[in-house]
Amino acid sequence: MTIRILHTADWHLGAPFTWISGDAGAVLRERRIEVIREIAALARARQVDAVLVAGDVFDGQHVADALLDRTLEILASWDGLWILLPGNHDPARAESVWTRLVRRGPPPSVRIALDRAPIPIAEGRAVVLPAPLADRRSPDDPTAWLDEAPSPTGALRIGLAHGAVEGLVATAQRVANPIARDRAARAGLAYFALGDRHGTLEVAARTWYAGTPEPDEFRYREAGNVLLVELDGPTAAPRVEAIPTGRFHWVERRLELAPRTPAELAARIEALRDELPAAPERCVLRLALDGAVDLAGRAAIDEALARLAAAVRHLVPLDELVLQPAELELAALEDGGPIGVCARALHERTRRAPSEEERAVAELALRFLWQERNRLARGEGAGG
């Protein structure tokens, strides 16, 4: 008889998104809670035998008690078995978010895999072999014990771990919490449910990273899923279905700009909306701007960026544009008197600034001069 599980990981409940201010940050934080409620609904709908959460359920040990209460309340909305695994963000330490959760009295359907002890599921037809992390970073493979882990005869062996599969990321540094790529084969696992990588990925035979159910960074395009896994037997290949759950898209774009008319530059910014994978309000956009623009173009870009920021959920501008006033613009500032001299001096400063910050200040001063001079020339009063 088929065993059906939901594999998810990296909920990172309580992630503060401190760098996203205002309402956007609040919405993103709230979304990380709400997606759990959707997972519970999914579990009910797909009638799974258990939901395996492969670590990093919480973003840290210091999440507030209110969040723990709310998490338990959501988990209780589905009375099937939840198996929660401590990961590197929420390791099972002597005192941890888990001990606090235990003290709050979780329902029996919530099992916290604090020990390396098999957990039977589906009336004993399968056993989950958890590899909880007790430290944030460990040089040892936490899944090594799975090779010798006992399990009832005939029961499917399902591994549950949190860490970095060796060789997945090319790095010269020693990887923390390493996991042998062939662990599933060595430990006779029918399925190896992993967490840590926020994008969904089949990393080896029978071995999957579920990824985070709600994207939270720009790195992984394939984030925002939970995996419905169906296991027919110890040797049968698992049937894995990635079910999208993410609401927000984390998008990165880079624009290389050159001096154009202000309208053309504004149009380049505006065109980004059409390139987004979803409605702008469901996108968190990191926009890198590079190149050089003149004073008028800079003003047009600023206005276009303001409009774009209002449209998307959150805009992270990486503004590396260099101000390159056109000779005509500088000439326009030339009055044969102090304004022209001042403009030339500021322009010179932007070119010879000893630091990036000094350059930015000089650019801003030049922009102010240009804006104010134009505004006054248009007849707008000093109070405007």
Binding site: G14, P16, F17, T18, W19, I20, S21, G22, G25, Q61, H62, V63, A64, D65, A66, L67, R93, A94, E95, S96, R100, D335, G336, G337, P338, I339, G340, V341, C342, A345, L346, R349, E357, A360, V361, A362, L364, A365, R367, F368, L369, E372, R373, L376, A377, A382
Partner: protein
């Protein structure tokens, strides 16, 4: 503008009509004495050009000449090559004739303002530089040319005009309203962030943001510290739990317990062996004691035998010695009896000799006392005589007047004063000498005749009767009455002093003092003699001498009575030596016998004591010998000596057996090493206790840390930290943006100000360029310093040293002010095609000769391009200059109208 001619009528000092001119195109010098009206010429010119024709009140009154009349000034001038004729009769009319025909009244005034570019003065407003156009700068009143404020105010009034010229020259555009508005806008933005001094504001958006950041950072730090404490406590808890697990490991406790059990069993066996050994050692000690007792008894029996033999021998020797001693005692006692009889005889002889000696000594003392009493009696008699003589002399001294040296000096002073006053009175007296005819006489008013042979010295009004003539009254002049009173007073004082001493006159006083001195000398001699007598008797006064004499006489009487009535003292005293020798001999013999008797007594006592001692020892030996014999008999009766020896051998055998048993146990104990076993047991006990303690301690520590972690967790898991960090991040970003904006506004402000400053400095350059040639002629080594903003000279630089204007001499300041005007004149000439006329009223009065000569040369050179009018009261100083020279007094065209 170029002045052509000037006509003044009835204007202040210049009463009547004055025609001044024509003015030279170059230099015109108008000379005139002080108070002659040179400054009035300048004032009239200014009034004509810049005062309204209709002006009234005080201003017009001030113009009016002292002799009355309507003030009138007519000026002919050229401007831009066009000639104008202005005639202004104040309060009446004004006419300006130019190329467009004559203009009158206010139209003329308006045209004048347009031509000369000045702002008319309104009402009674104070006259300022802007009310006079360029002339405010170029027409320098007397005594003001050296004042910096005069130049500054005049240039300020023409700042726009001059600035425009300068900008035109350097190709700079004038700052328009756009720049002003831009500057205002920048200032407005700058003021949001910065203070006037360029410090960041403590209020405002950025400051508030920084304050909020600081508050939140503080709170975040607190909460992070709480988390750090929590994490640290969790770390400790984990370590404590690991330690507890290690401590609770069952194998460690089991091993410790097994080690304790083995050690305990071994120790129990050792303790049993030690008990057996103790018992065996007691047996050894008991057998050894019995053996010692038997051996002791055998040794005691042998010693008793030896002692009995020694005592019996000693007893025999003592009895022989006692007999010898008894014989010697008897011999000594006989000798003692003989000595006692000799002592009795000698004692009686000595008593008789001492009686004789005492009698002889008493007789000698009586003789000596008789001699002493005789001496004292003679001394007492002489002393009595001296005492009587002293009493007589003292009585005589008491009878003389009590005068001394001081009193005599006082009397002499008083007598001298009387003499001095008398002489003075006589010196003032009126001397009357009478030369009566024969038969005639004179007498006093009282009738006493006057001896004509003796002149009369009258010191008081006196009436004389001259026979045949009648009475004559003589009244001496001067203060004779006062002199008489003083003389009478002095005489009274002298008389009173003499009366107090009982003396009649000064001579008596001197005699009395001489007598007192003689008596004092004699008294001193007598007293000294008396003291010598008393000292010889050994007493202090006469009464003591008398008392001592009485005592000696009583002792002498008593001594005679003790010798007896019939005794002859001299005879008795002569036998005293023989008596003394008899006493000495008899007492010497007695002492010798007594010593011999005492030695014999001591010898006898010693022998008797020795005899008693021998007897005591003999009795002791007798008792010891008896006791030893009894003891020998009793021991033998208890146990024979052979049986005693057999018992000793049996006891020795048992003792050896017991020793062997002890040695065997010792060997076993040594093999078991009790000390090591005890040490092991102790260590095992301690180890077990330590392990159990460690387990308890670890459990307590874990319990404590669990409580601590839970307590810390409440604060560490505070969700406010996330909120705060979010807010902090936002604030920091906002602050960074605001800070950048603030710096940008500051930079913009600085750059604009710098640009304006640079522009202003460029503006100065044309002035400096024109000024420098003049200044080189005046001060070859100096460079001018011109304020870029105000275009006024602010000092000089000489040899790289800046000298501010206020530190320059008044003369140099004045000369510099004239040169600046010449330079500005050049500027106007070159830029507007016409230089203004420069009028100097009594200028350069502070210049020294050299500077004055240089300034003259400069003005001569400048006059080639610029019209210059010099009003001076010292025209000779200005000789040699080219141009027109006028004398003001020569300019009077008509006398003032009278009345």
């Amino acid at each position: 503008m170029r002045l052509v001619a000037l006509e003044i009528r009835d204007f202040r000092k210049l009463a009547g009509l004055w025609r001044i001119g024509p003015f030279d195109r170059g230099l015109t010098l108008i000379g005139g004495d002080n108070e002659e009206g040179k400054s009035t010429v300048l004032l009239a010119l200014k009034s004509a050009l810049f005062e309204a024709w209709s002006v009234g009140g005080r201003i017009r009154e001030a113009m009016t000449a002292h002799g009355g009349g309507t003030p009138r000034v007519a000026v002919t001038f050229e401007l831009g090559g066009t000639r104008y004729e202005l005639a202004k009769e104040f309060g009446r009319d004004c006419t300006l004739r130019g190329p467009g025909g004559p203009l009158r009244g206010d139209a003329a005034e308006a045209e004048l303002q347009r031509l000369l570019r000045f702002e008319p003065r309104r009402g009674r407003a104070e006259r300022r530089a802007e009310h006079q156009g360029l002339s405010a700068l170029f027409w320098v009143d007397q005594g003001t040319s050296f004042l910096p404020e005069t130049t500054a105010a005049a240039i300020a009034a023409q700042r726009d005009r001059l600035g425009a010229l300068l900008r035109r020259e350097i190709g700079m555009v004038a700052a328009g309203p756009l720049l002003a508005a831009l500057r205002a806008r920048i200032e407005q933005q700058y003021a949001q962030f910065w203070t006037e001094k360029g410090q960041e504001k403590r209020s405002g958006e950025l400051a508030a943001l920084r304050s909020r950041i600081a508050e939140r950072e503080s709170l975040v730090a607190t909460l992070r510290a709480a988390r750090a404490r929590y994490d640290e406590a969790v770390e400790k808890l984990e370590r404590a739990r690991a330690e507890r697990a290690r401590a609770e490991a069952p194998e460690r406790l089991e091993q410790a317990r097994e080690r304790l059990r083995i050690a305990t069993e071994r120790l129990a066996r050792i303790e049993r062996l030690e008990a057996d050994r103790a018992l065996a050692r007691k047996t050894v000690e008991a057998e050894a004691a019995e053996l010692r007792r038997l051996e002791e008894e055998l040794r005691a029996r042998a010693e008793l035998r030896e002692k009995l033999a020694r005592d019996e021998a000693a007893l025999r020797a003592l009895e022989a010695e006692a007999r010898d001693l008894d014989h010697r005692v008897r011999e000594i006692e006989e000798r003692l009896a003989a000595l006692d009889a000799e002592q009795t005889r000698l004692a009686e002889a000595a008593v008789a000799a001492r009686k004789r000696l005492a009698l002889a000594q008493a007789a000698r003392e009586l003789l000596e006392r008789q001699q002493e009493t005789g001496r004292l009696r003679r001394l007492a008699d002489e002393a009595e005589e001296k005492a009587e003589a002293i009493a007589r002399l003292e009585a005589e001294r008491s009878a003389t007047p009590p005068i001394d040296e001081a009193r005599l000096r006082r009397l002499k002073d008083l007598a001298g004063e009387v003499d001095r006053l008398e002489a003075g009175l006589l010196a003032q007296a009126t001397r009357i000498e009478l030369f009566p005819d024969p038969g005639r006489s004179a007498r006093t008013a009282e009738g006493s005749p006057i001896d004509p042979a003796r002149p009369l010295d009258l010191t008081a009004p006196t009436e004389l009767v001259l026979e045949g003539f009648g009475r004559i009254r003589v009244s001496p002049g001067g203060d004779l009455a006062g002199r008489r009173r003083a003389l009478a007073q002095a005489r009274d004082h002298l008389a009173a002093a003499l009366a107090e001493l009982g003396l009649g006159d000064l001579a008596a006083a001197e005699r009395a003092l001489a007598r007192r001195r003689e008596l004092d000398v004699r008294l001193a001699g007598e007293r000294k003699a008396l003291e010598g007598l008393l000292r010889g008797a050994g007493v202090l006064d006469l009464e003591s001498l008398r008392s001592r004499l009485r005592v000696e006489q009583r002792r002498l009487e008593t001594g005679r009575q003790s010798l007896g009535e019939d005794a002859e003292p001299a005879q008795l005293a002569g036998a005293s030596d023989a008596a003394a020798r008899a006493v000495e001999e008899s007492e010497g013999a007695l002492a010798k016998v007594r010593a011999e008797a005492e030695a014999a007594g001591r010898s006898a006592a010693a022998e008797r004591e020795r005899l008693a001692g021998i007897e005591g020892r003999r009795r002791e030996l007798l008792r010891a010998v008896d006791s030893a014999r009894n003891e020998q008999l009793a021991a033998e009766a208890r146990l024979s000596e052979a049986d005693l020896e057999a018992a000793r051998r049996a006891a020795a055998e048992r003792h050896r057996e017991a020793l062997a048993r002890v040695a065997a146990i010792d060997g076993e104990l040594a093999r078991l090493d009790g000390e090591d076993v005890r040490l092991r047991k102790t260590l095992a006990e301690r180890e077990l206790a330590a392990l159990e303690d460690e387990v308890r301690r670890c459990r307590r520590e874990v319990d404590r840390l669990e409580g601590e972690v839970r307590g810390l967790g409440v604060e560490a898991c505070d969700s406010r930290l996330d909120d705060l960090e979010r807010a902090l991040g936002q604030h920091r970003a906002e602050a960074a943006a605001l800070e950048r904006e603030a710096r940008a506004w500051k930079l913009l402000r600085e750059c604009l100000a710098e640009a304006e400053r640079a522009g202003a400095e460029r503006l100065v350059e044309p002035v400096t360029r024109r000024l420098e040639p003049y200044l080189r002629r005046l001060l070859p080594e100096a460079e001018p310093l011109i304020d870029a903003e105000r275009l006024v000279p602010v000092g000089l630089r000489r040899s790289d040293v800046v000298e501010p204007l206020e530190e320059l001499s008044v003369g140099t300041r004045e000369q510099l002010a004239v040169l600046v005007r010449l330079a500005l004149g050049e500027l106007l000439l070159e830029r507007e095609g016409e230089a203004p006329c420069l009028i100097l009223d009594d200028a350069l009065v502070f210049a020294d000769e050299d500077r004055f000569a240089r300034m003259k040369a400069i003005l001569a050179k400048a006059a080639e391009r610029q019209q210059i009018v010099v009003l001076t009261c010292r025209p000779r100083d200005w000789l040699g200059l080219p141009g027109t020279r006028l004398r003001l007094e020569d300019c009077r065209a008509s006398a003032p109208a009278r009345g």
